[in-house]
């Protein structure tokens, strides 16, 4: 943190310039009429297996993930590894559910999950609930990508908010112009430099520290494993798997992952990707280990990084490790991988939120029956508003609230599962029953988080046994129970179930 590192900064800026150029050129890639929402917001649904792989990889494994996971491992040890079972079980779920989602959205011209819910359940209110949940869950997530950029700028020795503002302005302009094509093309570059960075880190750092055995030996023993359950409580034996399962189920309900899936050219591309995307899980596992490498390297005790840790907390662990282990120019390369790694998901998230706003709020309630061009323009403007909202949030609201909001967003988005995923398979649930379940899930989940001071784990007391589990999952259970009971009640009362605008043949 002693002033600006010239070599690192030069490499960083050069890569950033390359990516900016790609972002603008992208509008002409696989050219389409960008005045149509499905062209701007879904890349014309033309991405094949490989582009989808890059896009989803760049989209799901965000800069914030790459910073927060090792930070959690650095601070909390084994618990931070829940990211691993989480990504391992996520893809089998995707293989089962998402090809079906792709088929029906493709056949019916749906662009968002809320579009599907609208058509399937014939309920504007339920679609609005799904859309608003998606937008609320996405906004703080975009904000946290900015935190990723802030931390690496700080590590490069750049002070002030202006550089962040400039980076975001560039991002906003090329997203406006090129739509989903920009992050799709940039993702190829981003993934390449992230793989190089992580492979270099995993090769170089253990060599400097004396091998993996030395690294694990340097970790305090109580951090190496999950704490064994004590009498009357399942402890981390419950929190670890529920965090993994809840996060895996929530992953593809997020609007940005849905956008990534729907932009692919066919269900075969999605199915192939479920076997290919674990390459990123492997990468994430290696990145999680960087947390232990940072511990073993003792970066938190190095006075050179004291200011960084004070400012950014454990999120500074990985940048400090890079500064400590790499020559300046390669540290710049590694930081560029994080910053560019933030731009890709930030762009996709803002596009996904814009699609939701345009399709399910603007066209539904503000300007019914508006034309294609107006719809696309509304989405482009919405993507700007969403991004600047996130920027203002990060600059003027304490970072703790952004993190709290993002965790809360995870709890919320899981509550759309009955409408979106169960709805793919059956219409047995009554539309108002699903809506009632959603409302209860949202309320209960938020209350649990608030009670625990925005920690994701809520200790449920079952008789004499305490089960600390992911609040999102507890809320989902309540959500289901209410949806089923309310369905029985509405059916008994003969309430209208609405007309299904999809057909059985749409799903295969």
């Amino acid at each position: 943190m002693n002033g600006v590192n010239a070599a690192a900064l030069a490499v960083f800026l050069a890569l950033f310039a390359v990516v900016t150029a790609i972002g603008f050129v992208a509008s002409r890639w696989r050219q389409g009429d960008l005045d149509q929402l499905h062209e701007w917001g879904l890349g014309g649904r033309r991405f094949g297996t490989l582009v989808t792989w890059f896009l989803l990889g760049g989209d799901l494994y965000t800069a914030y993930t790459f910073m927060a996971v090792p930070a959690l491992v650095f601070g909390a040890g084994a618990l931070g590894f829940f990211a691993l079972p989480y990504t391992v079980i996520a893809y089998p779920l995707v293989l089962v559910v998402m090809p079906r989602m792709w088929c029906v959205t493709h056949k019916r011209g749906y662009i968002t999950a809320a579009d599907f819910v609208r058509g399937r359940f014939d309920s504007g209110a339920l679609a609005l609930a799904v859309a608003v949940t998606g937008i609320l869950a996405t906004m703080p997530y975009i904000g946290l990508q900015l935190v990723g950029i802030q931390v690496v700028l700080g590590a490069l020795g750049i002070q002030g908010d202006l550089p962040l503002l400039i980076a975001f302005l560039i991002l906003a302009v090329y997203t406006y112009q090129s739509g989903l094509r920009a992050p799709a093309l940039i993702a190829v570059v981003k993934d390449a430099i992230i793989y190089v960075t992580v492979i270099a880190a995993v090769a170089v750092v253990p060599m400097k520290l004396g091998g993996f055995a030395q690294i694990f030996a340097a970790v305090p023993p109580q951090k190496l494993l999950l704490a064994a359950p004590k009498a009357g409580s399942l402890g981390q034996y419950a929190s670890y798997p529920t965090l993994a399962l809840g996060s895996a189920c929530a992953l593809f309900l997020y609007p940005h992952s849905m956008t990534g899936v729907l932009s692919s050219s066919g269900r075969a591309a999605i199915r192939r990707n479920t076997a290919m995307l674990p390459a990123y899980s492997f990468l994430l596992a290696l990145i999680a280990l960087l947390g232990y490498m940072a511990l073993a390297a003792g970066v938190d005790k190095n006075p050179a990084y004291a200011a960084g840790f004070q400012r950014y907390g454990t999120n500074f662990a990985v940048p400090a490790l890079f500064l400590d282990s790499f020559p300046g120019w390669f540290a710049g390369f590694a930081f560029a991988s994080i910053a560019i790694g933030a731009l890709v998901p930030a762009a996709i998230m803002s596009i996904a939120a814009a699609n939701l706003f345009t399709r399910n709020i603007y066209r539904e309630y503000v300007r019914p029956g508006c034309g294609h061009k107006e719809e696309a323009t509304a989405a482009k403007v919405a993507s700007l508003v969403v991004k600047f909202g996130a920027l203002v949030f990060i600059l003027y609201v304490p970072q703790k609230y952004a993190i709290d909001m993002q965790l809360l967003g995870g709890v919320w988005i899981l509550q759309t599962l009955p409408a979106v995923v169960v709805g793919l398979y059956t219409r047995r649930l009554h539309r108002w029953g699903v809506l009632a379940g959603w409302a209860v899930g949202m309320g209960l989940g938020s209350w649990m988080m608030w009670k625990m001071d925005f920690k994701s784990v809520y200790p449920l007391h079952l008789g004499g046994l305490t089960v600390p589990g992911y609040a999102a999952l507890w809320a989902l259970v309540a959500n289901f129970v209410v949806a089923v009971l309310a369905t029985l009640a509405f059916d008994a009362a003969g309430a209208d179930k609405g007309a299904d605008r999809t057909e059985a043949s749409d799903y295969a």
């Binding site: 084994a78 590894f81 691993l84 079972p85 990504t87 391992v88 079980i89 893809y91 089998p92 293989l95 089962v96 091998g211 993996f212 055995a213 030395q214 694990f216 030996a217 190496l224 494993l225 999950l226 064994a228 981390q236 034996y237 670890y240 798997p241 993994a244 399962l245 269900r267 075969a268 199915r271 192939r272 479920t274 076997a275 674990p278 899980s281 492997f282 596992a285 280990l289 059985a504 043949s505 799903y507 295969a508």
Partner: protein, 73 residues
């Protein structure tokens, strides 16, 4: 949706999807792997076990992908 003449295998294709269950059991039942030994090259069991499941799940999803491919339109 309808099973046309191209789907000629004797077992219904959904049986393939049962192969997707082991990762859930292996990953979500923590007592299986919350231990240090046996370690490999100084890497505790807890860590290499979870790394290994990435590979196992890739193999399983690939098998399911090929096994259910003829059911695709």
């Amino acid at each position: 949706m309808a099973r046309d003449s191209r789907t000629t295998s004797n077992s219904p294709s959904w049986l393939w999807y049962l192969l997707l269950l082991p990762p859930f059991v292996g990953m979500l039942w923590v007592p299986f792997y919350n231990r240090l030994e046996p370690s490999i090259g100084g890497v505790p069991f807890f860590y290499w076990y979870q790394f290994a499941w990435i590979g196992v799940s890739v193999v399983l999803t690939t098998i399911v992908y090929f096994g259910t491919r003829d059911a695709e339109p």
